[in-house]
Amino acid sequence: MLNPNDLPAPFSHPEILTGPAQISIQNFNLWYGKAQALHNINLPVLQHAITSFIGPSGCGKSTLLRSINRLNDLIDNISVTGDIKIGERSVYERHLDVTSLRKRIGMVFQKSNPFPMSIYENVCYPLRISGISQRNILDEAVETSLRSAALWDEVKDRLKRSALDLSGGQQQRLCIARAIAGNPEVLLMDEPCSALDPISTAKIEELIAEMRGRFTVVIVTHSMSQASRVSDQTAFFYLGRLIEAGPTKRLFESPHTKATQDYISGRFG
């Protein structure tokens, strides 16, 4: 197995910067209390492109994802150095209003977590908490989001029913609809399909593909086939370090580092 200290030093990836970077992560470190989970990550995420984070479980890819929209604040003794910028605004700015930041970043979780309310309320939740309560705006937003989550036809006649009655795949798509209802610029997805059957996974992947060009999507996945099918850009993490990042086709066909080669070929992981 690879031991951490003989990993190559982090390096910049000139050929990746082809478009304006929506999210730029500059030498970002993160500690849970005393244990360091992320070591000096530098990674630009392209705007309107789909970036996937791959790597063995426990390599810190979800932690990094949750640091982007500062959901890590929920856990008590977290300390962070370095910076994550969205556009030019830093996420860890001193007096940043976290709720406005999160409104611009939608997030979908591994296990679908629809709220115990009706489907309609679930989707228009982000708008309601921003204080919007005019009926017409809400109806339009709900229809738009459900259509773009390819769920509208299945639920348009039972919007008032509880969201818990939906199937697993439908619930996940509802969460996606909820995430994009507030028209975010970035969409973070933390292993969205790991708990779903192949058919729903396929539907979700179609959805992600359609989002290219509308949102900057960052998806964490442990299935390399999904990464190669869906993402434009992939970053490989191992033991809290960014080993290699680059366009998906190039990374999967001719990885620069041996670690990526071993991981892709499944020798460890």
Partner: protein, 897 residues
């Protein structure tokens, strides 16, 4: 190959059986408790019975006993019958009448006859003693006597009239005397029989009491030398003596002897009933007795055919209701010897009185009156009316009616000597032979039970304190029938427990609980309604105090408090749950109650305005650290707690100053005086009540709440608007005597704080568990959508945990209802039914704790306490089962999330 040893298998079998048995024993414990409570309170409701033990054979000697008196010894199967106005010679028949213990049929009637004779000078110094004569002997004694009720006899000795008391003397036989009884007597005694020897009756020893000897004794209390000289026309038969209860004097009622035809008060000589009051004094030193007679001017002008059956009755041992006309009575006060100016009249709808009898306890009178052919039975509050009669100016005073309803007219009324009941002899309704004896209960007027009697047997009857009644027929020789009226819990019926009843000398019908008082004539008032009201009021007020505090703290500690502080706060609050309620009760009574009485206005002000002060702090004080906190999205709560503690110190000091200022200006210096009608404007009080309503209504207006000027306006405008509203409303409603009345030191406010203290930890820990069991993914989902921490809590977490919170409150409610010691110690235990938070209260649990130690086992009071315990048990049982149901449904739903 190892085999499990036999011993182990057997042991296995035994212990699993043992555990199963013990496991089920817990169900038995609950069921047992419920059964026991039901078992001890059920007898309250079984029907009263009036059973006829059958005829007792003929009355013995030829001359009939047309009326008699029955005297009973507690547990000896012996009855002493006395002639009643027999006019003939004084013959007393002692006869075993009551069935020996255990057997249904009365023991074979061994009887003994006595006659009054002049006692030999030396015997016992008494002028008259009883001498045993042979039953058959027809010798007539030289005295004639007539019985006057519970053993008293009038004896005519020439022109003298003696008033004497007949008693059964019981002397116990100690071990030795029993041993040296003649052998035959002792042996007969042990064979389940009683025996008569010379003039004593021997009674068999039983497990509880040793052998005893009964003897009959006659003792003269008063003798009036010239009674018959002063009223020559009177005969002993027509003289009736009504003794004044607990005093030695009394009233002689001399009804003129009707001509032979037996029609009473025939038209020719209108009834000139004479009332002669005898007041007797005894010189303590010499023991010499003197009596003084005084004739009361009787205005009786009863027209023909109308006579009020039942003699003038002593009311409360002091007044005498003398029928002046069929519809009115004059009142004679024996204390200061005057006749009342006013006439007490019967309400018109009851018509004119046909019969009257003073009930046990002497305050109320049972009357039968006829109006338009229909007979009405009613119980009139004569005691109260008589007291009013002497003071009032107007001449005609209506006697207040306790209850009245239609009934059939009776031939004869006999009041029960020891219970508020009356026996009514009714002619048979189907025209058949036998008559009906009806026992009617007098607090609510319901018919307790009825029994059929052979028609003629109802001619006359006597009764004793234990419910035995001897009825016989003077005409034929049909013999006597013995009846037993057993009504251990007469006053208790659904109406008396839960209905509104007009009690004796009460202004109007009310629910009141007064289980015991000094005298045993006291009318026990067993209405459970004030107790239920007290329990509910105490619990609701304490929930009002406890639930907001507990739920909000649970929300803060589960949603906002960081893990470290939570691990300190949660155990301290759980430890609070184990503080004994006796300590809480004691502190409430000795420390909190006086302190609150001292600073009542500031306490009210703080209570009402504290939540809004906190909200205002949140709105106005967007202090940097709070902004920083919100920025980081997680409220570093310990610093916020410090800010709140600081804010508390300032605002409590501020509000107590404002309280003092408010008390001096608005309530004339002292709220307590103001509450009981003192100076001060009520507007401000209404204002205090309106403050929360005004805030909430202003806050929920659809104006864009985010605007700052709107928020400031609400806080400044609020108090002004509420006081202005208050002054308008106080114009035409007085708050003081319906919602807020008198101020008692140990009031419901103190209870709500003390009991709230006991309930808070229970609701807190259950609510906190419910909130923390909401899955974290929901919170993450909501935060990810950009909701603030409070929005997440309010919109996602609280709705999910709602049923868990609700069941926590239910358990808290159950604990509040069951709370005993706090309520016993911290209230004045006054059974009042008001909404006023400054009044005391008496809860069921406290009532049981205070009264059960004194209640006699098996008595009505004892069983009613068990009934209230059963009500309490059912209440908490339903509450807890509902809470359990909610909690299991909630836990199942959570698993689905």
């Amino acid at each position: 190959m190892y085999k499990t040893r036999r011993r182990v298998l057997i042991l296995d079998r035994i212990s699993s059986v043992a555990i199963t048995v013990v496991g089920l024993s817990v169900i038995l414990a609950v069921a047992g408790m419920m059964l026991f409570l039901i078992g001890s309170s059920l007898p309250l409701f079984n029907r009263e019975t009036l059973d006829n033990t059958g005829l007792l054979g003929n009355t013995g000697p030829a001359d009939k006993m047309n009326a008699g008196e029955m005297l009973l010894d507690e547990n000896a199967p012996v009855a002493i019958l006395l002639p009643h106005a027999s006019g003939g010679h004084c013959k007393i028949l002692a006869r075993s009448v009551i069935p020996a213990a255990g057997s249904a049929k009365p023991a074979d009637s061994v009887s003994q006859t006595f006659v009054l004779t002049k006692s030999a000078a030396d015997a016992s110094g008494l002028p008259l003693t009883l001498a045993k004569v042979d039953e058959k002997a027809a010798t007539a004694g030289e005295y004639s006597c007539s019985a006057q009720g519970d053993g008293r006899m009038l004896v005519r000795d020439g022109q003298k009239l003696h008033l004497g008391q007949l008693k059964i003397l019981r002397t116990f036989l100690s071990g030795e005397d029993f041993r040296n009884l003649p052998a035959d007597q002792r042996s007969r005694l042990t064979e389940e029989k009683w025996s008569v020897s010379n003039d004593e009756i021997l009674v068999k020893p039983s497990k509880q009491s040793p052998a005893a000897k009964l003897s009959l004794q006659f003792e003269i209390e008063w003798s009036i030398a010239d009674f018959f000289t002063t009223n020559p026309s009177a005969e002993l038969k027509s003289v009736q003596f009504i003794k004044r209860p607990s005093k030695s004097d009394g009233l002689f009622v001399v009804t003129p002897q009707p001509p032979a035809s037996g029609a009473q008060n025939s038209a020719e000589n209108p009834a000139q009933v004479k009332y002669i009051l005898m007041s007797a004094t005894e010189n303590a030193v010499t023991g010499e007795k003197s009596t003084a007679l005084r004739e009361l001017p009787s205005k009786t002008n009863l027209s023909a055919g109308q006579s009020v059956r039942g003699n003038p009755a002593w009311i409360e041992g002091r007044f005498l209701l003398i029928p002046a006309s069929p519809k009115s009575f004059t009142v004679f006060d024996a204390e200061d010897g005057q006749l009342s100016s006013a006439l007490l009249t019967i309400p018109d709808e009851l018509g004119s009185v046909a019969a009257l009898s003073a009930n046990f306890g002497g305050a109320a009178v049972f009357t039968e009156s006829v109006a338009g052919g229909q007979t009405f039975c009613a119980s009139l509050d004569a005691g109260r009316a008589s007291r009013l009669a002497f003071g009032s100016a107007d001449l005609r005073l209506q006697i207040p009616v306790l209850w009245a309803d239609k009934c059939r007219s009776s031939n004869r009324l006999i009041p029960h000597p020891h219970q508020r009941a009356v026996y009514r002899f009714l002619p048979s309704d189907t025209g058949g032979k036998n008559a009906i004896l009806e026992a009617r209960e007098l607090t609510t007027g319901r018919i307790a039970s009825t029994a059929a009697l052979p028609a003629e047997a109802f001619a006359s009857a006597v009764t004793d304190s234990k419910g035995y009644m001897l009825a016989w027929n003077t005409a034929g020789a049909q013999g006597m029938s013995l009846l037993k009226f057993n009504a251990p819990h007469l006053e208790v019926s659904l109406k008396s427990l839960f209905g509104k009843i007009r009690y004796e000398s009460y202004e109007n019908a009310s629910y009141s609980w007064q289980s015991t008082s000094g005298t045993d004539e006291f009318q026990a008032k067993f209405s459970l309604v004030p107790l239920i009201w007290g329990t509910v009021k105490a619990t609701l007020y304490s929930l009002l105090f406890a639930v907001p505090l507990a739920i909000f703290s649970a929300v803060y500690s589960s949603e906002i408090l960081d893990r470290q502080t939570r691990n300190v706060v949660k155990p301290t609050l759980e430890m609070m749950a184990s503080i004994p309620s006796v300590v809480l009760g004691f502190l409430a009574a000795i420390v909190i109650a006086p302190w609150i009485e001292e600073h009542i206005v500031s306490v009210l002000l703080i209570g009402v305005s504290m939540p809004f002060m906190l909200y205002a702090a949140g709105v106005f004080l967007q202090i940097p650290s709070a902004r920083h906190l919100t920025a980081r999205g997680l409220y570093a709560s310990r610093r916020l707690l410090m800010w709140v503690v600081g804010g508390f110190a300032v605002s409590i000091w501020l509000l107590s100053r404002a309280g003092l200022w408010l008390e001096n200006t608005a309530f004339g210096g002292d709220l307590k005086a103001f509450l009981s009608g003192g100076a001060g404007t009520e507007g401000v009080l209404w204002g205090l009540l309106f403050l929360p309503l005004v805030f909430i209504s202003l806050w929920s207006l659809p104006v864009r709440r985010a605007r700052n000027w709107y928020r400031i306006a609400v806080f400044l405008l609020g108090p002004v608007v509420s006081v202005w509203l208050g002054s308008i409303v106080s114009g035409h409603t007085t708050l003081r005597n319906d919602l807020l009345g008198q101020y008692a030191q140990r009031n419901t406010l103190v209870i709500s704080i003390a009991m709230g203290f006991a309930i808070i930890p229970i609701i807190y820990s259950l609510a906190e568990d419910a909130l923390t069991s909401v899955p974290g993914s929901l919170r993450a989902g909501s935060l990810a959508c950009g909701a603030s921490v409070w929005q997440t809590t309010a919109r996602v977490v609280l709705p999910t945990a709602a049923s868990g919170l609700f069941s926590a409150v239910m358990v808290g409610l159950g604990r509040g209802i069951g709370e005993t010691m706090i309520v016993v110690m911290a209230t004045g235990n006054t059974a009042v039914m008001t909404l006023n938070p400054f009044d005391g209260l008496r809860s069921m649990a406290a009532n049981i704790a205070v009264e059960l130690p004194e209640a006699a086992q098996g008595s009505t009071h004892y069983r009613i306490l068990f009934l209230s315990a059963l009500v309490l048990f059912m209440f908490t049982f339903t509450l807890n089962s509902f809470a359990e149901f909610l909690r299991s449904r909630y836990r199942a739903r959570n698993k689905a999330l």
